[in-house]
Symmetry: C2
Subunit: 283 residues, 2 copies
Amino acid sequence: MDTMKEEINQRLVKLCEPLKDGRVKDAMLYSLLAPGKRLRPILFLTVLRAYQFDYHQYLDVACAIEMIHTYSLIHDDLPGMDNDDLRRGRKTCHKEFDEATAILAGDALLNLGVNIILQTTSLDDSLKVQLTNLLYQASGINGMIYGQQQDLYFENRKADLSQLEDIHKHKTGELISVSMQMAACIAKKSDLDAWKQLGFDLGLAFQIQDDILDVTGTTEELGKKVGSDLENHKSTYVSLIGVEASQKKIEELFQKCYERIYAMQINHGLILELFIKILKRVS
Amino acid sequence: MDTMKEEINQRLVKLCEPLKDGRVKDAMLYSLLAPGKRLRPILFLTVLRAYQFDYHQYLDVACAIEMIHTYSLIHDDLPGMDNDDLRRGRKTCHKEFDEATAILAGDALLNLGVNIILQTTSLDDSLKVQLTNLLYQASGINGMIYGQQQDLYFENRKADLSQLEDIHKHKTGELISVSMQMAACIAKKSDLDAWKQLGFDLGLAFQIQDDILDVTGTTEELGKKVGSDLENHKSTYVSLIGVEASQKKIEELFQKCYERIYAMQINHGLILELFIKILKRVS
């Protein structure tokens, strides 16, 4: 998995080489290459591996997914949004550069993902269209952006559990789910729906972990400020049902994921290894 | 041309219907439907008409172009960027809504253009890939975003004429040029380069007009604040060479456009009619 992460990082650098030099490119690379888990591209590539596909052909698509994720972090951190100073253990993009550059760097990454997928020579046009469409549906106004809108709406309002799930489903779940859907779209279309559901469950589990880590983790481990949910009076799984019940919910969600995995004809070990790493994460 | 504009506006509304209701959708529609010239989609559709193509099949692609243009206006107007209060005769998006919503509405429009083109049923996959790729190359870090970066860089620095041309070429020229390139890509690929150059000349002429109108126009006519270039000590064609020489430059650029038009086997009248309207514009 570390090899895969290194390959993604190297490819991200390579893909940015043809970009015009300047402050926006510097900001894009600063945020893209900050130490991150690369969870979404790794999920995408690992699902491909589980179908015995040579994932190297799809590294560019993986990088496009990471670009979309990074754009969303840069814009979420802006003063007009969550106004965060720390991300991935570094100053946020607008703190290191400036607000205008951070807005443009986010825009540029959202924009670049399109060209990266559409210019991947190893994909045929039909697959390019399907993958790009899936990814940008997940990241758009009916997906991730809707989640961010709802998250902002409930910033100073109490959300109940189903409203919180709706936020998480869109804000976090969509991009995690689509990473696996895209792999199924390449490898085995009839499995796409199974991955979609699995992805939403995994995304929810991942987000509940975030809620817990915001209470139990340290800024050093997480690379971002902890305790901010509490400080902002934000409804979270922890504030609504407590740490213990949240932990139980995570285990139930993972259990559902395992069941779906075993129902598919793939290399189960590869996926399970990754899931266990996620389950045990401390950052 | 008014029919075409009306058709674009109606289609923009239709294309936004499937979007999840909420503040971001409201903000997208607010900015999309504000009274604008619809110059870029009209250029795209008029070039198609000049090749005897039924442009109605391509209305969605035209709308995608307008979405990209509108996103760029919303983000340019943000407090962290140009901090403008008035646009298209209305309050800017972040003034009518709020900053977070304006950031998300811009993101959502940039994102939505992708899905609109890729979901157009009358296009084959190869054309979808080419058109989307062309559009997003023009709007990205090597195109429009680079222009915006340079514009910000020279905000409080004196730019010379060639630096100013470089800004205009990217910030305004890319999207105007690509609108015509995309039509050529559909209608006659061998004409694509001619439209590309023509588009950059037209874009430069259009931008020099903006520089002049910022001095000679009224806020009422333009729907945005006038005199802001001067106030911001911004280098413009007018500040560098004066109104008269700027006017002459515009006429020279249009002359070059006319020559390129006459060299192509198209319905010249349709294009000339549109160009004359642009040449005589007061807003």
